[in-house]
């Protein structure tokens, strides 16, 4: 077969989403955003489609990325985490989710799943960020309801929750 007619094997990829293994057929132009929504992960929002808004943020091998800028064939063999996979044992909300609720950070909620995924990654890399570091960390996640103050409050409060939890001080 001439080189240029080769494709990714059958355009089939294997990925893990929220600890579930998927063996899926894809087309070359399908974005990771399209694929995740097709698989039922509707927390991953379709916003700008150009990498500017962050509504489609997921963790790819642990790092936050804009899934609208990634093609499905690029992620063969990868591990993906969306907000649906955050709750502990599928029941107890993650401390970042709890903090968002308690602080009233979501307004319409469209940006919230992406915001939360970025926050989870930020806090795993920097467990005690300053407000400025939080603002830089979420620079790729835009909220059109303009709720940044409460989002930063929520991430600060989540940092404290995670720290207490890890220190075993949680009730």
């Amino acid at each position: 077969m001439p080189l240029h007619e080769r494709q990714v094997p059958d355009l089939k990829i294997k990925i893990s989403v929220n600890d579930r293994a998927f063996d899926v057929e894809i087309s070359a132009g399908e974005t990771l955003l399209d694929l995740l929504r097709r698989l039922g992960f509707k927390s991953v929002k379709h916003g700008c489609d150009t990498g500017n808004c962050g509504a489609c943020t997921v963790l790819l091998d642990g790092r936050p990325v804009a899934s609208c800028l990634i093609l499905a064939p690029q992620v063969d063999g990868s591990t993906i985490l969306t907000v649906e996979g955050l709750a502990i044992c599928g029941k107890q909300l993650h401390p970042v989710q709890e903090a968002f609720i308690e602080t009233g950070a979501p307004q319409c909620g469209f940006c919230t799943p992406g915001m939360i995924m970025t926050a989870v990654s930020l806090l795993s890399e920097n467990p005690d960020p300053t407000r400025d570091e939080i603002r830089h960390g979420i620079a790729g996640n835009i909220c059109r309801c303009s709720g940044y103050v409460k989002v930063v409050d929520a991430i600060e409060s989540a940092a404290k929750k995670l720290c207490d939890r890890d220190a075993g001080h949680d009730e």
């Binding site: 399908e30 804009a66 800028l69 093609l71 064939p73």
Partner: protein
């Protein structure tokens, strides 16, 4: 859903180049995909993935740092790069968003130098060399590559070699866009050598702006080389840089506004570079 029809994961550099040559204008290399995925023309049908060729990684040689083309921008925001190539670290800290930097590669960022790319303008000022592979291998400075009209048809950037700033040298980088993370309207990188703590003996000033390709000015300091550094000298250097840059008006900004920005950012970068190089002068 995008319009691409085929996605090929290249196993070797030769295979990637061979494919690109065979398929021609209907194909593009894809590294991080952050430009290709949202921006590729409808005529591009075949993507050739170059991110599994082992072209990523950073090595510290004696006087220089070598960075593989598919190294992600986020991997370059490390304490090691901050220590070895602080201007690149500074440029990348304000380049796009964390989400983009986790996918975007240095090679992809350089390929798009005309944007103007923040990494590209920093590397132009620093005198970085690119190792390229097309029909043959060549090593060429960012400056010479720009002068020759940039990359050839299917040329692949393999590696970037960045000389470290020497003793008596300093750097400055500044950027202005609509927001901290937006593509720059103007960005300016400066590398200055200061003699006796009082004179700028050499100045490399790279100026990027979104209405034409980045330029490198290396002869600016000739006119002021015998003068003691002062805010007046820096002002004159910045103004003459701004006069030499060709700007246009478009929907983003007028030509006059761009000229003004070049002058302001050039002054900031030169001032920072001169201070960093040990210049002593009154405020």
């Amino acid at each position: 859903m995008k319009h691409f029809r085929q996605f090929v994961v290249a196993g070797t550099v030769d295979e990637a180049i061979g494919l690109r040559k065979t398929v021609g204008a209907k194909s593009l290399y894809i590294a991080g995909g952050t430009t290709v995925v949202p921006m590729a023309r409808e005529s591009v049908e075949v993507l050739i993935d170059i991110s599994h060729l082992g072209l990523d990684g950073i090595s510290d040689q004696d006087g220089s740092i070598s960075i593989g083309a598919t190294t992600r921008l986020s991997s370059l925001l490390s304490p090691d790069i901050k220590a070895a190539v602080p201007m690149l670290f500074e440029a990348l800290s304000h380049c796009a968003t964390p989400l983009i930097r986790n996918m975007a590669t240095l090679g992809g960022s350089l390929a798009g130098i005309y944007l103007p790319s923040d990494a590209g303008v920093a590397l132009l000022a620093l005198g970085a060399e690119l190792e390229l592979r097309g029909d043959e291998e060549r090593v060429v400075t960012v400056d010479d590559l720009l002068a020759g009209g940039w990359l050839g048809g299917y040329e692949l950037i393999r590696n970037v070699r960045i000389p470290k700033i020497g003793k008596g040298q300093g750097w400055g980088f500044s950027k202005f866009g609509r927001s901290d993370i937006d593509i720059a309207l103007v960005n300016v990188g400066a590398v200055a050598s200061v003699t006796d703590g009082s004179r700028i003996s050499e100045l490399r000033l790279a100026i990027g702006q979104s209405s034409s390709r980045p330029v490198l000015l290396t002869d600016l300091a000739e006119g002021t080389a015998t003068e003691a550094i002062s805010h007046d000298v820096i002002r004159r250097l910045a103004d003459s840089a701004s006069e030499r840059v060709k700007v246009k008006s478009d929907f983003r900004a007028s030509a006059a506004y761009r000229k003004h920005l070049v002058s302001v950012l050039a002054a900031r970068s030169i001032l920072a570079a001169a201070r960093e190089a040990g210049a002593r002068f009154e405020d």
